[in-house]
Amino acid sequence: MRIKFKYSMTFEKADQLIERYYEGLTSVEEERQLQEFLSQADLPLKYEPEQAIFGYFRPQKQNVTRKSFLRWSGVAAALLVGVFAIQLFNDSNLSNYAYVDGKKITDMDEIKLHAMASIENLPTGQTIVEENLRQVSSKELIEQQLNLFSAFE
């Protein structure tokens, strides 16, 4: 079940961000969150100056295109972090496991060991043929062939 908040962030968090905003310490991303919070209706009156200020800047943002020093390197870094995060996620959450005699094993090394052992027990195609060949002795083979020939006589 998801808990639904009435506001996009708690007042405590908003107050904290507003304080940091006035100290020039908030990032662009944090200011976007704050803007989202402040654009909500029915906020307490104490947020009125910030609502006015953020409301004043908001429409201007859409008219601005900018290039920056760090933006693209930032995007690249974010992608890289994303890739690692995905790998980490895969490693930790989609872990490998095997059932050996009805027991679940998640340790990779142990799984490999069991897997190798069971592979060795499997007869390969070649060994099967060799086994069959050995069973059919050459003597028998010759007799069979001779019988076949004699039948035509």
């Binding site: 409301g55 004043y56 201007q60 760090l70």
Partner: protein, 166 residues
């Protein structure tokens, strides 16, 4: 002009530009502000900078003119306090503003901020630059940018409250 060229050709002459500004404006702080203003101006017009043969010479001229303008302005700038004083005396052109809307009030408040603070608050709150980026463009430390940004934001809030509830 690309970001790389801006970095390679403009930032290295920062000290030279500061020297020019200092000669005209005298004070360290004023000169530093002026240089940052010029660098941000050049940054915002960097697309057309490539057309100048000698970008360094152009930047020098811009700095000189900018500082001379500042010097002239300094002599006849009315501070925000003066305006408030007028406001209280009843004879002030902004009185109607209050009745217009908050947008007009904020526009006016921001226009009356010191130029460097104006540029920085615009870059951060409208153009969405990070403080570190602005610091890199102006060849300063992020903390120096933060100080101006903080002053600008606090001033806007303070003035807004004065205008709307005063």
């Amino acid at each position: 002009m690309s970001q790389e060229r801006y970095k390679a050709e403009i930032l290295p002459i920062r000290d030279k530009l500061f020297h020019i500004a200092h000669k005209i404006l005298q004070g360290d702080e004023d000169a530093e502000d002026a240089v940052q203003e010029v660098l941000l101006k050049l940054w915002h017009t960097r697309d057309s900078l490539g057309t100048y043969d000698n970008v360094a010479a152009f930047a020098t001229t811009v700095t000189k003119n900018h500082c001379l303008d500042k010097l002239k302005l300094k002599k006849r700038t009315e501070s925000l306090d003066d305006i408030h004083h007028q406001r209280e005396s009843g004879d002030n052109p902004y009185l109607q503003l209050e009745r217009i809307n908050t947008e007009e009030i904020l526009k006016k408040i921001i226009e009356l901020l010191p130029p460097l603070q104006q540029t920085i608050i615009r870059m951060k709150d409208v153009e969405e630059y990070e403080v570190e980026e602005i610091a890199e463009i102006t060849g300063t430390k992020p903390d120096a940018i933060r100080v101006n940004l903080s002053r600008a934001r606090k001033k806007v809030r303070e003035e807004y409250i004065k205008w709307t509830r005063g």
